[in-house]
Symmetry: D3
Subunit: 335 residues, 6 copies
């Protein structure tokens, strides 16, 4: 099992109960999120040694955040205290034809005002095997973008395997800013989550629209690899949103010039889709680190992501065995 | 935006949580209903100036009812206080193959004992543009039927545009009583919600059963318009009930000798279907008042009604933008 | 209406709310289960006089169990007090692709240590018409197996009609132990629930795998009847598990050399599947005791079992009228 | 143990959670009440055979009411079905300086329209030892008053011991009406709950205000006994309301020309005071029927009433042992 | 009744349930607060016409805030939309010996970045009778301080009666900043809430510590009036905190050279103390506007503040009648 | 800060909500307990490095237990997996005059069947500074008693400081068995919690009953120290139970021939008293390890124990600062 470090923003998440609009909510369910937090927890449950680094103010809410991370044995000892705010977000959970809606309140968070000059990267990178970071972190602020670029460089120079999930969020920054920053990050990346839309609109690659989804994606990946030949593996998912409660999901995994594609998983009766992408990323990473066969990795990751949709909260609280069991046996009551 | 007045009975609604039978319920969720209340709130959220008139006893429960109406800026200043009871109903919320069941407890309510002689109609009709009323109000009691007939006459004489939703409820009165009263009301109505079953069994119109649903409905509407040529527009929905949690819905809107029909909306993962008809009525009325094109009106109203099925409580707590967004983009998480 | 006695273990059931994993549950919903308890309650709601016999320690939890039984008029006056533990089980309720999981904690329960020598069977069998017992009871412990065999013998000698539901649970005993015990019980049984897998793997009957499901089952039933010609009727269900929230169900009922098969019922939006088998058993028994026609019995029982899936808790809290209404009218809101 | 019958109105009770005003309540807790229901349940838990008679409409709410009664083994087989409404009441639970407030909605209930001519009293009185009834029942309506008078006469003629709790409620009737009806009832009463205010303002007895509370009460009881020498025992409580959450209680019991008075019980941290009087009545009755010494009866009843204040819902869910234990040992954790 | 305008920050409040530490909270109760919001609602329930002015971003949370204000008929039509954040705060509700703890997250709120140059004060002051503002508003930011000073000047010049509650919060600003700003505000103030500690440490007045509390306060008020002779009336409370659940409260009101002092109110079983000061302020203001006698005003306000402690949420959801009833009759169940 | 190891049974705790009897509970709150678990968590929050050792079966419930321990950074890596049951207990939470009641279901737990021969004590004792264990562990079973005696011997031989809390539970074993085992344990103990009743009835020491509580306790401690001169410090509390919701507490701490006694703390509005003793023990141990003055230790520990009574669950979720703050400032809202 690997020693995996993730760095990013940890968010307080407050969600409505199903069927309730935010304007009428008298109660909000408390969870914690953040792409890198979700990946750390998933990998911890898969058996890896994980560490999460961030910056948080020090108050009664932070206590709960630390307890949450520690409960899944994520090492919190390198978390810095400082700044003024915990980033937070509100989720109005959708159902049927009504979309889920997210209200972010993450401006001026402690992470957004974290200057790379305050950080001694070797302190927490030393001895680690893998770094995972998402494209949300550089999107938070200019300072965070600089910090992220520095982090991947430092990670590389410390010999870590670098995992990056593009995760473009248009509410946080522009396509142009994302493009510039991603191009500074990608030369240090070993494995990368990047979807068709990212490749077309952020990286501006062209592809013949008449090709099948899979062929288009393979072609786009080849173009990316031409520019960043350091990347070993690429992955993404294709989600079909029938309704808020019913999606389907296909996983893609590209390695050694081949695109592997999972069976399409039917995800009806969705409980909570937030964190589905992080569940996929952490599972691909787990499969890669476990040296599984490519087809197995993509099926495992797609199944794991599907399981996430059945669990409240951002983290995918499942074990490797549970994912394997669903792949092998389908959904059966266990008694 | 129009000044819209509605008058009717406001009900206290007590519902079980999903999966619980009423006999085992240890908690009931509080909501408020009533067809005209629901329409007033929906129109208020669409941007109209609304007023709701009713008669209620004055007690601690009434305070909550007034707060509820006022929270959506429905004008409550013409509500009368008197009588002995708040009409109420209990909903055992169904799921899957188990039907929802309603237990009414609305006999002897303040509205049911409201005599038209107590009312100075001009007081609250003056300056208003539109009156909406449903066929539930005249069904409550003989006094309420007389009051309703008088109300539509007065509204007409004050120059209001009159909207009427037949909404026949067989637990409240007989087909014969409904027929007699509807025939007294319809000469004053400008826009009317009336379904195929109403037209066949209440108004006794015949139609060739071999025709398609849409052609039958168009034919029936033409017969109604022969009798009540004052009516400008007619509408209704066709619901297919696959289970308590899964219905489909088609909307119909008839104007200028043409029947417009919406796409069929799939409503799976239903949260609360009560108020779906009122969501449709208020949306047709909003479209008509906004002078939208007919096809647009019927698509908008069907989409709005579908959204209602995803929200707890009787009222359709959505804005025009939210309905438009679903029509344009389908169900996508917004973040 | 018949006087029906059931005997078995009554369990305390603690369930998570939907979407919550057991490891994060801060609240558990309290219900009570046990195959024979479920059958007693269902038959009581169908109008029969029922009695449930078991052994329980005497503490504050037992008070709740007795209240539960008595609330459905199940006679508790022959329940013995003794032993040390109430058997219990925890249900992590699944959703979508995530299976429900059961953690049993029923070892050393009062029933498991109940010796038949302590029991005067005629005391509670006298005057009763029907005994129902499941294959879970003999699986609990050696003592319980002896007690069960003795019970069916005594019931037969007191002239009772004996109903037995094989209900093999591999977590409780081995196929070999089940086979031996079932063979001691079946000579006294009049009506028996026994599925295809039981017939193949417990009773070791062979069948041509190329036949349809129904023909295979009919053939297997014939073999069982060759060995136990005392059995009058046999039944089982075939469940297709699309996901935790979506199953389909077909019921089978074999009598007078004919296999009757229900329509396949679509059970989407499942709330709680525990107790579905007991709902089917009690409904077949009710139909048999009511002398209904075979096809009617199997449709009724399948519909009743489907209704169970929409209700929280193990017991099928429905009346005969409610099942009939669903058979006749489908799922329609009743208001 | 005695066979005790009670007759009266059973109410659906809907309560707010502590700290919530009714106008903002989004959830109401479901309980069932009614003075005679509460007494029947308390006596059932003390070990008596109890029966409750009333009139109820037949709907899904009634099912829950019957289950509730049956769960405590109260015989419901003589409950009549008819009429249109279940009487109900809403409780805004007070706290600290804020009083609890009750909104009744019991007009036109099935019991209020129950005519004595419909009833064959001997059917349910036959074989019973004791009748308990409260002064709320005759207050409901004229018909109910006539029914009550007839009931006590019939009970007496069937040889039952008659227990009556005056329980004057000024929201239900006038002092004059209460006086007239009580004077028709009391000649048939054996044991009676009657407080100082009842004696002064309903029965118009005078007493020297300079005497101590106890001496005044004794004097008033003597006057009542002069008028109704058939009464064997009298009792009441004196409550001091420091706040909604903190009361004190003294019990009085008069028999054989002597007034027995309990220690004053401090009731701080009150959970639910509704049903406190019924807990006292049922406990005095239990003590009397058990032939305990007078001082023991009044201490037991006061302690039992105090326990009621710690339990949600109207019924005093305690056993004789639990009351005795509190009397003997005070409040100690039992582990 | 008066037309009262208040201006300030509206806060989203998220509270734990009693007995739960924030670090373990899985659910938070939603309420809304802000000193001026609380005063507006209380005055609205007392019958005044109220208006609340603030600046808020426009999102799904804002919808709920507007609905909340409107439900109590507070006019929201002058609320400005802009800025980036809704100020919020988390309350870990204390109990017994454990203090309540507040975590603020109100930095960078829309109100804190509201420049007075954006505002046309006459637009919303015109036609109003009274302005109420608290010392929290100028504490939020420099811009807010300037805005507040301008507001009271403008209010005065529009002929409004100005009410100011000093409400010093040391987490928001320094004593020095408060002193400077208060001195700019007070020349325009007619009625002012100001406590002993404010007078000693902010205004630096000396007083003979050997005098009684009341005499000290009177002396301090005289010194303040020497400096700001425009002030007509002054008030404050003295709270004794026995525990989080048990306080006592004395109200003081100074007018026409006389200090009036209420009875000490015992507030045991506190549900929620947040908003107690605003309940007092709004009640003094109501009494003053109603031209009640001074002693009556201070008793009323202290009783009203005590009631607030029994109600969840910041607002004092009581009517004048309810306060009067508690003053006259103490705490008695009303049924 | 010290390295502290504790070993014992971890329990699943299921509690009713306040005011609900267990027989009517439809929901139970999940917590985890066990004396040594509680001490480990409290010490972890005080800043020590803690480790908890136990034996548990491996199932979905165990996952939650491990997450709980890890969330407070208690090292779980030496927990053994085996056996069949998780010990559990149900708490019917009392209020006012109604006592809390505990129903244990811990027979046959994994710990009770843990044989010392399976254990390599040096594996987890090595490198630790302090061992804490309670008298509940040896009471569980004969095997557990042997294991405990061996454990303290081994701890001593590894140079650990041994802390022992007698904690006699009469439901688990007899006074005689406790006496024999305690006498085998005490020779290895450095600091010991032992109350007056333990000293009199388990150790059979006599004392002059006319002496004050404190003098009696000092005298009894001297006798114990005569027998076990190895003990450095002794402590206990005296609780006065006014009601379930209101207790008072005095702490005693004996060291260097002197008995130190805390102020009496008033604990009104108790939320959850379970774990109060463990809060006291862990706080004395923390004070001792921090080399505080004796009087300070006993005041700190009593205050910490009082705080525990305000928090749901067994563990005392407070920091050293929070206890200090209450000692210094009393109960004040912090905002």
């Amino acid at each position: 099992m690997a020693k995996v470090i993730t760095l990013g923003e940890m968010l307080l998440r407050l969600s409505t109960e199903t069927g309730q609009r935010l304007r009428k909510a008298y109660n909000l369910e408390v969870n914690y999120g953040g792409a890198e937090v979700n990946v750390a927890i998933a990998l911890s449950l898969y058996g890896h040694d994980t560490r999460f680094v961030t910056r948080l103010p020090n108050n009664l809410l932070t206590d709960g955040m630390l307890n949450y991370l520690e409960s899944y044995k994520v090492d919190t000892s390198y978390i810095c205290f400082g700044g003024e705010r915990i980033g937070s977000y509100f989720v109005e959970v959708g159902a049927g034809n009504r979309s889920s809606k997210v209200v972010y309140d993450r401006k001026y968070s402690s992470v957004s005002e974290w200057d790379k000059s305050e950080i001694d990267f070797s302190e927490f990178l030393k001895g680690q095997d893998v770094l995972h970071i998402s494209g949300i972190t550089p999107a938070i602020s200019k300072a965070a973008a600089e910090l992220t670029v520095e982090l991947v460089k430092e990670a590389k120079s410390h010999g870590l395997f670098v995992s990056f999930d593009c995760n473009f969020r248009e509410k946080l920054w522009t396509i142009e800013d994302a493009r510039k920053t991603f191009k500074r990050i990608l030369p240090y990346v070993d494995i990368c989550s990047c979807g068709e839309l990212d490749l077309k609109y952020i990286f501006n690659y062209d592809v013949d629209a008449k090709l099948s989804d899979a062929l288009q994606l393979a072609n786009l990946y080849e173009q990316l690899l031409d520019d960043f030949p350091n990347i070993v593996a690429l992955y993404s998912t294709k989600r079909n949103q029938i309704s808020s409660s019913h999606n389907t999901l296909i996983g893609y995994y590209y390695i050694n010039n081949t695109l592997y594609m999972s069976n399409e998983v039917n995800m009806d009766h969705i409980i909570d889709r937030v964190g589905g992408g992080d569940a996929f990323s952490s599972s691909v990473l787990h499969g890669y680190l476990s040296k599984w066969e490519a087809q197995n990795i993509v099926e495992f990751a797609t199944t794991a992501a599907a399981l996430k949709h059945t669990i409240k909260g951002d983290a995918n609280l499942v074990t490797e065995n549970e994912v394997m069991d669903l792949m092998a046996n389908g959904t059966k009551i266990s008694r």
